[in-house]
Amino acid sequence: MDNRGIDFGFGFLKQEASFDMQFTLLDYDGQDSYAWAYVVALLNTLLVSFLGIIFCTILGVIIGVARLSQNFLIRNSAAWYVEFFRNIPLLLQIFFWYYAALRALPLPETAEPWFGVTYMTIKGYYIPSMIWENLNVFLSCLIAAIVSIIFIRIYARKLQEREGKQLPVFYISIGLLIILPLLSFLIGGVKLDFELPVLKQLAQTSFIFEGGIALPPELIALVVALSLYTSTFVAECVRAGIQGISKGQKEAAASVGLNPNQILKLVIMPQALRIIIPPTTNQYLNLTKNSSLAAAIAYPDLVLVFAGTALMQTGKAIEIVGITMLTYLTISLSIAALMNWYNKRIEIKEK
């Protein structure tokens, strides 16, 4: 490295970054340090991964169950969906959603509102933002509701073990979740206002929306592409999990008098999850790593901002690529650890 005139060191992290980012979760300005730019970019990566994991799980479960449907149309559309989205390279799908699908969207001035108050445009999805008064009262009510639900569940289980009685825990939980926060509005002095996006003219033919929250099209395209792609793999895991439970289990459960709901909840799902979780963990890890393809469409994630702009401006290739690799390794191992912990919890307790 000396030969090539490169010096090694991490001092650059304290220097002023002096570039701006399009989309950040925390306050960031070009005057902040490279270290802070790293944190902000990392959060963008985590946001995409988090949203992607949530959506791909929801979609994956629906598609996976649909593939086992008795209905010919549902079963076959689900199969087509899986075969279509999992056999096209992810990068192409990202380009498709960004350049083809999002480009077909209207300019801000011609956008029709969705649900009355949100606007989907080529420059992003504009939604109202919430302005809270006494947000902490609302939050403490919400936490109180969740804590009491946990206690009620524990009590209900003990009651069932002791006396065989069953409490309608689900309805009680829903009720608590609605009533307590509602009370905070009525007597806690909590107020919620919405700031609506308003069209603003920048020049003769150039408009944007102001106010509210703007979700950049880059984020939307990335989350859509990652979720659709990964959901096909999750769907296959779910299908395998459910098919892996023998029919006898269901019949045996029915013969001891459990209703269909209880069969699914108490007999099928606990066993299916054991098959579903380990391969699904792999898919979550893949999604997180694939999120680095964000660099292709200008979403300011860790790779674009830190291993891109910051690397370029400082020339510290070895340090920055090293930090970036360690970061992805840490994220992946953390997800794996979390999923392994969950897997341990639900696996067969052998005595």
Binding site: K200, L202, T205
Partner: protein
């Protein structure tokens, strides 16, 4: 007696070794030059396609004024301007490619700045295009000056460039809130701007003029008159090989000085009999202008004959292609521009 003889021989041997090393050093053969001559081609890093500067046609032939710098070096050190291997690089990859030794010259519309020159193991050898950052907008927007920019404007650009930093300085100094949308490849920036994702596209003005030719309807876009930065673009070499650095610097200087003295690819041979010693030195007919680089005496004649002088290169690549017909500051100092190179003597 024999004992002394033994000491004497070892002394002689030592002197011989030292002498061998010093003559080796005095021959000044650059390591990069040696490797280049061994390989038989110059390894040159260029852009991924910027018309006028470095652009490949359908059959893979590279043209442009940045490309011509590498061709000039190839003509000088290998005798054939076509013996160049071009490596297209993104803005992000370019410096790593050079410092890691994947290429030997980076001639990729790269801005000469203090931190790049001093920090990251690079040396800038000169300027082959004086540029400045500007903005492009859609004509229909009615914007004719950057003073009409308003809060909320979105600006498309490349990551890893001085553009990204200048843009911030510009908008901050004007107190305008803006949305930066930074892509890795120039083609992606153009596609996004062309589709309406951004209100303005900012990069070096030469780049704007060149990229405009790639748009769906070039006439719908205008480049605003303001220039917000100095962007001297030039070739870069790795730090630590002073001779190679000199070869690249003087290959570029030769092209510019040849224009000054009216030497062109067509008349270069006949200039050998010129009365002007400055001209004779530029075509290898007088002096020992190649020895210091470890090259023969006609290295500069080959550059002019095979690549042409700077004016020819500019005309061929930038003026005749309609990118920037007006040479502006990139005119010779004798004709009102700022192209002024040290004399070859």
């Amino acid at each position: 007696m024999f004992k002394h003889l033994k000491q004497l021989t070892s002394l002689v041997a030592m002197i011989a070794v030292v002498f061998a090393f010093t003559t080796e050093a005095m021959a000044k053969k650059s390591k990069t030059l040696k490797n280049t001559q061994k390989k038989g081609f110059v390894r040159c890093g260029v852009s991924q396609g910027l018309p006028g500067f470095s652009n490949a046609d359908a059959s893979g032939n590279w043209t442009g004024i940045d490309v011509d710098v590498c061709r000039a070096v190839a003509a000088a050190v290998l005798g054939d301007a076509n013996k160049v291997k071009f490596t297209p690089l993104s803005a992000k990859e370019r410096f790593t490619a050079l410092t890691s030794g994947e290429i030997d010259i980076l001639s990729r519309n790269t801005t000469w700045t203090l931190s790049r020159d001093a920090d990251i193991g690079l040396t800038f050898v000169g300027v082959n295009f004086y540029d400045g950052q500007g903005f492009m907008v859609r004509k229909s927007s009615g914007i004719t000056s950057t003073s009409q920019f308003k809060d909320g404007i979105s600006a498309c650009t490349n990551i890893g460039t001085t553009t990204e930093l200048n843009m911030r300085d510009f908008f901050n100094s004007k107190g305008i809130k803006y949305e930066p949308v930074a892509f890795e490849k120039a083609d992606e920036v153009v596609a996004a701007y062309d589709a309406g994702r951004c209100d303005t596209y900012t990069t070096d003005k030469s780049g704007l003029a060149a990229q405009r030719t790639k748009m769906k309807n070039p006439n719908e876009h205008i480049v605003l008159p303001e220039t917000i930065s100095k962007e001297p673009l030039g070739p870069v070499v790795r730090q630590g090989d002073a001779v190679w650095e000199d070869i690249v610097r003087w290959s570029l200087n030769t092209m510019i000085e040849a224009e000054e003295y009216g030497i062109t690819s067509a008349n270069a041979d006949s200039m050998k009999t010129s009365d002007n010693p400055a001209i004779k030195r530029l075509v290898g007919a007088e002096g020992e202008m190649g020895a210091a680089f470890g090259l023969d005496n006609e290295w500069n004649l080959r550059i002019i004959k095979q690549v042409g002088n700077y004016g020819e290169s500019y005309k061929r690549n930038i003026a005749d292609t309609g990118i920037l017909p007006d040479r502006g500051p990139n005119q010779l100092w004798t004709k009102g521009g700022i192209l002024y190179v040290p004399p070859a003597r």
